[in-house]
Amino acid sequence: MRRLFFIIQKEFIQIFRNKAILPMMTVLPIIQLIVLSYAANNEVRNVDIAIVDQDHSSYSRLIIGKIQASDRFTIVEAPLSAKRGDDLLQSGGADIILTVPPAFEKDFLREKTADLQMLVNAINGQQAIVGAAYLGQIIQSFNRELMADAAPRLAAIRTSPQPRIDITYSNWYNADLDYKTFMVPGILGELVTILIMVLSAMNVVREREVGTIEQINVTPIRRWQFILGKMLPFLFIGLTLLAVGLTAGKLIFDIPTEGSLWVVFAFCLLNLSVVLGMGLLISNLVDTQQQAMLIAFFFIIVFVLMSGLFTPIESMPEWAQYLAVPNPIAHFVSVMRQVLLKGSGFADVQYQFVVTGFMSLVFNALAVWSYRKRD
């Protein structure tokens, strides 16, 4: 046990003396948290729309007024011809072309039905679907108003009012659909994981490159003591980073903390032990820090892209969903969101605890096994 203390002491001295590692641990993650949370944003704003108004009626002006009033749309042009509308779509000048056909108002009043045409540039699928949905909402609300407006007149003709189903909805757990509230906890989990993985992957191999590992290997130190001595300082750093990040998230983005922070930190600890096991395993298997970096980088990219942070795991193909099971970032992101936003307790995230606990055993056993004191 005393030996362990001396390794930990030495690791801390080296970490805090390293001019590159310290800012990498403190300032950079906070900057990343802020930049990523603002920029890596799936919210669709500023949809460029062109409206071809061929009717020039009071109804068409009403629609245009409603679209203008929405902060999601920017009306880039109001061309006169459909041809010009198509050109705009082709050139990328507009994302959506809304055409109000001639006699729109007349048809509506006479037949109680009229058509609008919406052309959507679907190259960016997300933007297209969300933009079209917003526009659909606007048109629907316009439709309701018209119906209400026309209702007295209709009532004079018909005996009973037309039945109508309205859906009212409210967004739970993120009432204002604030994208940042959703992203910050996930990004924080990702940042902590990446940093610890990189630091640990570079650690043992650095001692091998410099040659100090030989000196360690001729001492009677046990393999688990060495690995544990390397891990504990990084666990501490990871937890500190999480605490700093959560504080920053609270102060800057006012992220909710519905659930217990104990659960968050307990899971972080377990999850970091997995990441450290992976990092040290890489470090034991390679010969240079460059190799370690490349391999760690490969895994990090896969872990991040398939973590559900930016795209939901549920909409990935089934085989890809299985890949999320051994992905530590996926579990971390999911636990952070569930506990912080939804207020989930330990019982709700048991599955993540069990899977992560199992992985921790596997990877740390591999890390100890792969550290050879003798060749």
């Binding site: 001396f6 390794i7 080296q14 390293n18 040659g211 000196q215 001729v218 009677p220 003798r374």
Partner: protein, 250 residues
């Protein structure tokens, strides 16, 4: 084999192969307690591989060896408690201070706080680092670094110390100082097992062995070897052996 009482290292047909290449070819020798044993050979002769097998960093392919009475196959950890090792590549932590290095190695050898403090004072005095004890090791001149590494390798007072080309790259004055430390260690009853390719250093040893292409071709006191090969220096003995080795391999 004779009793281990007066022999602290015994190797019998110790062999290491890497694939088809035999780095160490059935070497046998005994090292007496308290002597300075020179392990000579050209670069690539297999000295480092042989040392690594003796100190438990490399598993032998064949043969037997005991160090401090412990078997190299089964009791590597016991051996490690009883030996010090200074590798060819400088291996103290350059980003730790002199004191921190001593404390760290003392700590992982399981010394008590009191003992670590004692050793720190003794080593700093012995190496003459009173004014730089708080400096980073990376900032010291090479000669001092090497003497410090030697002293740190003995922080746990081992009965044997293995030195793998300890004086590589330093000037003759620094080499002299280093050898004075070796004599001190030997005078304190420690067995010193030292590899070198500086043949003049061989003259300082009690006994030397000369390795050529993985085999030990000569073993004895420097005086005896010079007599046997009717040479005026170990350097000449070595050149004769190296030439002879070449003839044999033809």
């Amino acid at each position: 084999m004779s009793s281990t009482a007066d022999h602290i290292i015994e190797a019998d047909k110790l062999t290491k192969r890497f694939g088809d290449f035999t780095a160490v070819d059935a070497i046998s020798f005994k090292v007496k307690k308290g002597e300075i044993f020179g392990f000579l050979g050209a670069n690539g002769a297999g000295k480092t591989t042989a040392i690594r097998m003796l100190i438990g960093l490399s598993r032998p392919t064949e043969g037997e060896a005991t160090v401090a009475g412990f078997d190299v196959y089964r009791q590597a950890d016991k051996i490690k408690e009883n030996i010090g090792y200074m590798s060819q590549k400088f291996s103290l932590y350059e980003d730790l201070t002199v004191r921190e290095n001593i404390r760290f190695y003392g700590g992982i050898y399981g010394l008590s706080r009191k003992k670590i403090k004692e050793q720190t004072g003794r080593i700093i005095e012995e190496v003459g680092l009173e004014n730089s004890a708080g400096n980073l090791v990376g900032s010291l001149p090479l000669g001092w670094k090497q003497r410090l590494a030697f002293a740190v390798s003995m922080v746990h007072s081992p009965s044997i110390v293995f030195l793998d080309e300890p004086t590589g790259g330093v000037d003759p004055a620094a080499r002299r100082q280093f050898w004075e430390m070796i004599y001190q260690a030997s005078a304190a009853g420690r067995t010193v097992f030292v590899t070198t390719h500086y043949m003049d250093e061989a003259e300082y040893c009690d006994r030397v062995s000369i390795m050529v292409s993985g085999k030990i071709e000569a073993l004895g006191s420097p005086a005896k070897l010079k007599e046997d090969f009717s040479a005026s220096s170990i350097d000449e003995v070595f050149v004769q052996l190296a030439r002879g080795g070449a003839v044999i391999s033809d």
